[in-house]
């Protein structure tokens, strides 16, 4: 059954991928043409096309250029080197994970408060929602600057921005999850005179886990975005965000795109990792079968 699903989905995915690559190469020709005609004279059509696909600083780099750059900066540079994509990825990953853990804790604590305290139930949620209506690009520099002025630099400010983005899905999911037991299940606990703690740990929390995992998947992707956004205004010299920014300063489009793909790969891996834990846990709990 599982094999069938993989076989059934791999062909459509590859078809779309092929389509994207074709469109990409075709678009690279007109976008990079101007630069080629400026640099080279008297080219035949095939030579011209070939040049548009292999410029050093193209407007639109082609897939093979990006792949080459990624392979080059991932496997052929020492991972402690500033030119290594692994090094930059690791810097961003650290901030992402720190922010994700902080955000998850904050989200769960707020959700517990909202579910257990009527005053918090009425007052907190509108502010949580309001916090997400502020563009992260506006608030990120402020967080960096304020924290810089009190001497906090490096990982923590970025982690705070990640937390700011990732706590939201966790709050929303956990409030729903902790409230998912129905009245009958709660009455049943009452007939046994269960304490609020017992109600939480034996009923509400296990019931909320499917909701929590769904939120964590959204949260970890948001965390990565937070960490990258946090690297943009900080004048940071390392991290995937810094790499993208450096790329734009020096017109190194291939560098920007390879950092972009590295970030996308990182995000996908993180989401898959959470999915894996989710499947394992819920299967073990016999919620998923």
């Amino acid at each position: 059954m599982k094999k069938l699903i993989i076989n059934n989905s791999i062909l459509p995915i590859l078809t779309i991928l092929l389509f994207i690559v074709i469109v990409w190469y075709l678009s690279a020709i007109p976008m990079n043409s101007e630069k080629v005609t400026r640099q080279f004279k008297n080219l035949s059509f095939t030579e011209h096309v070939e040049k548009t696909w292999n410029l050093k600083k193209p407007k639109l780099p082609t897939p093979h250029q990006i792949v080459n750059e990624i392979i080059n900066t991932t496997f052929y540079k020492k991972i402690s080197s500033k030119r290594s994509l692994v090094y930059h990825g690791w810097i961003t990953l650290k901030a992402t994970l720190a922010g994700f853990i902080l955000g998850t804790f904050l989200g769960i604590i707020l959700a517990l408060g909202i579910v257990h305290n009527r005053a918090m139930d009425l007052s907190v949620m509108p502010w949580v929602i309001a916090s997400q209506t502020i563009p992260i690009l506006a608030i990120a520099p402020m967080i960096i600057v304020v924290m810089n002025s009190v001497g906090v630099t490096g990982l923590l400010p970025k982690a705070i921005i990640s937390m700011y983005l990732s706590f939201f899905p966790v709050v929303v999911g956990m409030v729903k999850g902790l409230r998912s037991p129905d009245q009958m299940q709660i009455d049943q606990m009452r007939t046994w005179s269960a304490s609020p703690n017992q109600l939480l740990w034996r009923l509400r929390f296990p019931s909320s886990l499917p909701y929590l995992f769904a939120s964590l998947k959204v949260g970890i992707a948001a965390s990565l975005i937070g960490a990258i956004v946090g690297e943009l205004p900080s004048g940071a010299i390392s991290g995937l965000g810094a790499r993208m920014l450096a790329g734009t300063y020096y017109g190194q489009t291939v560098m920007i795109w390879s950092a972009l793909f590295a970030a996308a790969f990182l995000a996908a891996s993180l989401v898959f990792f959470i999915s894996f834990i989710q499947n394992y846990t819920l299967r073990k709990m016999a919620i998923l079968r």
Partner: protein
């Protein structure tokens, strides 16, 4: 022993007050099997919930084993079986039965012993390690009854426990419930909307009618304590069933239907 005296219960809703129970009085003796029967909205479940201290009456007195219901709940005087089995999907059958024992702080040795005992009582031996989804609806409800019996309360409150099951399974579980009642000597309060079920099981049938929820008839059953399914074809059985039906009808007359 349960005694209910002049109990009134009014729910405040957006459409004004709803009179769920009006001047309800009732005595349940130790070892009785009492059925509450009536159409929906007659307050039979509400009455059971009042006894279980899940609802607080607006007026009147309730005592359960000579205690206010809330104290009786804290003293673990009753086990409550809901309409849905309400087993936790992440716990096995024995894990589910242990749940109230964990909450009540029994030692692990005692948890094992009690679980073993009630699993045998409801004939679920061999299914201890199964998860709820691996059981049929009837077996799930039996596990739920075992869970209510695990802490040895002498009163069993059951709110339409077999309402969601098909008739064949229901007949079997009714028979098993009678056997269990005989073996354990518990006092059972049983809410149902099935006349044959009420007559077959009970020593006392409480007929209720809606708007406001009240008791219209209390029938002491002359049927012997030992009952087989065949008893349902006997003359006495049919007579009692007729009287229940009359009681239900008279309740409806008040509504000018």
């Amino acid at each position: 022993m349960i005694s209910v005296e002049n109990v009134d219960l009014t729910f405040e809703t957006n459409d004004g007050p709803v009179h769920a129970l009006k001047e309800v009085s009732l005595e349940v003796k130790e070892g009785d099997f009492v059925s509450f029967i009536g159409p929906s909205g007659c307050g039979k479940t509400t009455l059971l919930r009042v006894i279980a201290a899940l609802e607080i009456p607006t007026k009147g007195n309730v005592s359960v084993n000579n205690m206010p219901p809330d104290d009786a709940r804290k003293a673990r005087e009753y086990g409550y079986v809901f309409q849905a089995a309400g087993l936790y999907p992440w716990r096995t059958v024995s894990g589910n039965i242990k749940l109230p024992l964990e909450i009540m702080g029994y030692s692990s040795k005692e948890k094992e012993e009690r679980t073993k005992k009630v699993i045998e009582l409801v004939e679920l031996k061999g299914f201890e390690k199964k998860f709820p989804w691996q059981l049929s609806g009837g077996m799930q409800q039996r596990a739920s009854i075992a869970r209510a019996l695990a802490f040895d309360a002498n009163i069993l409150l059951m709110d339409e426990p077999f309402g969601a099951l098909d008739e064949i399974v229901r007949d079997r579980l009714n028979g098993e419930l009678l056997k269990l009642w005989e073996r354990t000597g518990k006092t059972i309060c049983f809410v149902t909307h099935s006349i044959p079920e009420a007559v077959y099981l009970s020593t006392k049938i409480v007929v209720m009618s809606p708007r406001p929820g009240r008791i219209t008839d209390v029938i002491e059953s002359p049927l012997p304590k030992e009952r087989t399914l065949e008893i349902r074809d006997s003359k006495e059985f049919i007579q009692i069933a007729q009287r229940v039906r009359e009681g239900l009808k008279s309740g409806h007359l008040d509504e000018d239907l």
